[in-house]
């Protein structure tokens, strides 16, 4: 391991108007050529720590402690440094990669110019030289056609490519240390794997220190040498990745690891196991789609989103729907809810054709349907109390129900989703994400539906919270026995929860079957690739998986 390039000592940060420190005495260090991971639940202070290290905290933050950077032979102190000194250090000694590739780039500036700016900030390069260097950097981070891409704007690139540009900016002046705050969270697993590959290569090649912030233990296992676990603003555990992930010493680390949904072990390299496609037999389906296609109107014309969808969910069955972003998962769930007209094919809900129904008949059918969405914040009306939200289906379908009865039913459900009964009178913003998602489930289930459509109900949540919510869902399913179409991009979740799984890609179904079978012995190359891209939280397993993925890509 090389010299220490970043050293944080007893860092404390308090935001004005807050009673408690957001970060309470964090110490950590990064050496050249080393990857250090910082993990922990949401709000534990990871981002605040990283921003403090960059000197980028807002004015409202009061910072104490020390953040030292090795700048050649000199040591630079970040805390208390003047804006001018910071400008000098940022980008040259330390640089940063942010989470959201969609917003981290200036939408009105070409990519080349944005990289070139970083170059020109710290070197005497002429504009032309800087531009050349920018193209070089883009090539180095694996952007095809770098020359012409450099003249494009961020919105013309995919998320993964944008993240590569952000990394290129961070690399522009060969800094000693790069801080990456959840660089892959917003990306698909396959893209995530590519970005991780890139980061690994860059660190190895250039001997840069990398502090990577993540909540994904798989990423840690895949990339990091050492790991720091944070909770409530303090580091609770730290050490070599191989040790912490296999034999955690702190209670919190243990629960964190336990909450991660697992993929079945044999899932890698099962391409050989391909057999004949199993016949799709579903008895008593609550929903059935046959050769359905649908699309959206964009700018006045029809743009197809899904084609030739054929799937079914049996009564009491949980069917997972997986696929990368934009593959059409949500579109299918919208179709199932009758929110989107089909442009071909047939959808039967509880034995009835959906498309022909109107008015009361349709409402009667919809009564049998529940829905849970991804964003726990967005799916509850902020101007309704939780009780009102849960009772809304009752207000629509049981107009004559007395209010006392209603309140009783709401209380019953709150209990079922393990929320205190006084929650009914409060507003959504007073709840955490996981709690809100449980309210959403309560609302979906208040009428005891026969079909539940859940579109990524847990993907916005922390693993530990996710585990809790999944637990509730499993319990309710056992109790109520509804059929469920469960959309997710997390194969681990799908593995733990569903009976069958449907894999989508580019608007089409590529494979479907028993979950255990598909995840252990996928027939399609795409499914295999998908599986191999999911990082496992165990360093040893992850090493195998990475190798398998490389093998797949070479084929």
């Amino acid at each position: 391991m090389g010299e220490q390039v970043l050293r944080i000592d007893d860092l404390r940060v308090r935001f004005s108007g807050r009673g408690e420190d957001a970060v309470r005495g964090v110490s950590l260090d990064v050496s050249a050529g080393e990857v250090v991971a910082l993990v922990g639940e949401s709000g534990s202070g990871k981002s605040v720590t990283s921003l403090a290290a960059m000197g980028l905290l807002p004015r409202s933050a009061r910072t104490t402690g020390s953040v030292e950077l090795a700048d050649g032979d000199v040591t630079r102190q970040v805390i208390g440094a003047s804006e001018k000194e910071l400008d000098d250090v940022r980008g040259r000694v330390e640089s940063m990669v942010f989470q959201e590739p969609m917003t981290a780039l200036n939408p009105t500036m070409t990519l080349g110019a944005q990289i070139a700016e970083a170059v020109r900030n710290h070197t005497r390069a002429t504009p032309a030289e800087a531009r050349e260097r920018a193209v070089e950097l883009m090539r180095a981070v694996g952007i095809p056609d770098a020359e012409s891409r450099a003249r494009q704007f961020p919105h013309e690139l995919s998320g993964g490519q944008r993240q590569r540009v952000v990394i290129a900016i961070a690399l522009a002046c060969e800094p000693r240390v790069i801080i990456a705050d959840e660089p892959t969270t917003a990306l698909d697993v396959t893209v995530q794997a590519e970005i991780l590959d890139l980061l690994r290569r860059l660190v190895r090649e250039r001997g840069t220190g990398l502090l990577i912030i993540t909540h994904n233990m798989g990423v840690v296992a895949d990339l990091a040498d050492r790991v720091f676990v944070m909770r409530h603003g303090v580091v609770v555990e730290s050490g070599e990745v191989s040790r912490v992930l296999t034999t955690p010493s702190h209670e919190y680390t243990r629960t964190l690891l336990a909450a991660i949904p697992k993929l079945p072990p044999g899932s890698v390299g099962g391409a050989a196991a391909a057999a004949d496609p199993e016949p799709l037999v579903v008895t008593d389906p609550v929903i059935e789609m046959r050769a359905v296609s649908a699309g959206y109107r964009v700018g006045g014309r029809h743009v197809p989103a899904v084609e030739d969808i054929g799937l079914a969910v049996g009564a009491g069955e949980i069917v997972g729907l997986v696929g990368e972003s934009g593959s059409g998962k949500s579109t299918v769930s919208r179709l199932a809810l009758g929110l989107l007209p089909t442009s071909g094919g047939e959808i039967r809900l509880l034995g009835q054709t959906l498309s022909g129904l109107r008015g009361r008949r349709k409402r009667e059918l919809l009564e049998q349907l529940g829905v849970v969405f991804q964003d726990p914040g967005g799916s509850l009306d902020p101007r309704m109390t939780v009780g009102e939200s849960i009772a809304e289906p009752l207000a629509i379908h049981r107009k004559r129900m007395r209010s006392a009865e209603r309140a009783a039913r709401v209380a019953e459900l709150l209990d079922a989703v393990r929320l205190p009964s006084d929650a009914a009178k409060r507003y959504p913003h007073e709840f955490s994400g996981g709690q809100r998602q449980r309210v959403g489930m309560a609302r979906a289930l208040v009428l005891k539906p026969r079909l539940l459509v859940a579109d990524e109900p847990t993907s916005a949540l922390d693993v530990s919270v996710q585990a809790e919510v999944l637990d509730v869902l499993r319990g309710l399913h056992e109790e109520l026995g509804f059929g469920c179409l469960f959309v997710s991009h997390d194969l681990g979740v799908v593995n733990e929860l569903t009976d069958r799984v449907v894999v989508m890609r580019r608007g089409r179904i590529v494979e479907q079957g028993e979950t255990s079978r598909v995840l252990t012995a996928p027939r399609e190359l795409y499914t295999q690739e998908l599986l191999a891209s999911v990082p496992a939280p165990d360093p040893a397993v992850q090493r195998q998986r990475r190798a398998a993925r490389l093998g797949l890509l070479e084929e």
């Binding site: 929110l339 967005g378 799916s379 809304e392």
Partner: protein
């Protein structure tokens, strides 16, 4: 409670509220404390300077006590401003919410009407409308309301376009909720921040418009008056340094409009709404 706190954290908003309250007191309680003749003219007492014959702010060309007149005029300006602002907001909100929610051709048609309305100078509409209907307080409310609903309509439409794609609205539709339920229970309540904030600006603008209308000679029939008319009359005497005829109504307009704008800014903090947009 927290809403109140967030509002009062904005000092200016608090000042605005207090000032507005004082002005309301002035125009409502003022005439009780300081009663003056505001119906019959008194030419023998016309054009007195401040302090003469017990008139603290003097009298105007018809012998009305200026201080008393300021109260009377303020009442009109406030009533017309508030009701016109509210009227504009109500029309605009309904128009915008419906256009945004229904979408498609209906939306296109409704918004083209709004665009056309915005493209026609308000002054033209005011002129023509005030000639068609003869000015009275209620007519002024109607006329000003009718020319100023366009901005809230655009705002609310934009808001309702975004609200209708929120998951809770989608969920309500998936549950089988009716259109009217969705509009009334979800869309309208969730645009209320924009609406309320805009309403304060709308009232402020309406008070200014009342002043313009009077300035352009389309004011109320005597002996009713408003600050704009007083100011207009006073401005004719600007070279005689008749500050007591000019400054009180002028400052009153500026102060009230400012106060309303401050309050609007404070409410914006409460509702967390983006800037005032045309």
């Amino acid at each position: 409670m927290s809403a109140l706190k967030r509002f009062s954290e904005n000092r200016l908003a608090l000042v605005g509220l207090i000032v507005l309250a004082l002005v309301v007191l002035f125009v409502v309680i003022g005439p009780l404390v300081y009663p003056t003749e505001q119906v019959r003219t008194a030419l023998d007492q016309a054009n007195l300077r401040p302090g003469e014959q017990g008139h603290p702010l003097g009298t105007d060309a018809l012998g009305y006590d200026v201080l008393g007149r300021l109260m009377l005029a303020g009442r009109t300006s406030l009533i017309v401003g508030i009701f016109a602002g509210v009227l504009a907001t109500v029309i605009g909100t309904l128009w915008g919410a419906i256009a945004g929610y229904v979408g498609g051709v209906v939306d296109a048609i409704m918004m083209r009407v709004v665009d056309a309305g915005i493209a026609i100078p308000a002054i033209f509409l005011l002129l023509v409308l005030s000639t068609i209907v003869r000015p009275s307080e209620w007519m002024m409310i109607l006329v000003i309301g009718l020319v100023s609903w366009l901005v809230p309509a655009r705002l609310v439409r934009a808001e309702s376009l975004s609200v209708k794609t929120r998951d809770y609205v989608v969920a309500a539709r998936a549950m089988g909720g009716s259109h009217s339920r969705i509009v009334l229970r979800h869309i309208v309540p969730n645009t209320v921040g924009t609406v309320v904030v805009n309403a304060t600006f709308q009232v402020a603008d309406a008070i200014l418009l009342v002043a313009y209308v009077s300035f352009l000679g389309m004011g109320l029939q005597p002996p009713a008056t408003d600050w704009g008319a007083m100011l207009n009359n006073g401005l004719a005497l600007i070279y005689q340094n008749a500050w007591w005829l000019i400054l009180p109504p002028g400052v009153a307009i500026v102060v009230v409009v400012c106060a309303l704008n401050f309050i609007g800014d404070g409410l914006r903090d409460v509702f967390d709404v983006k800037g005032r947009t045309a």
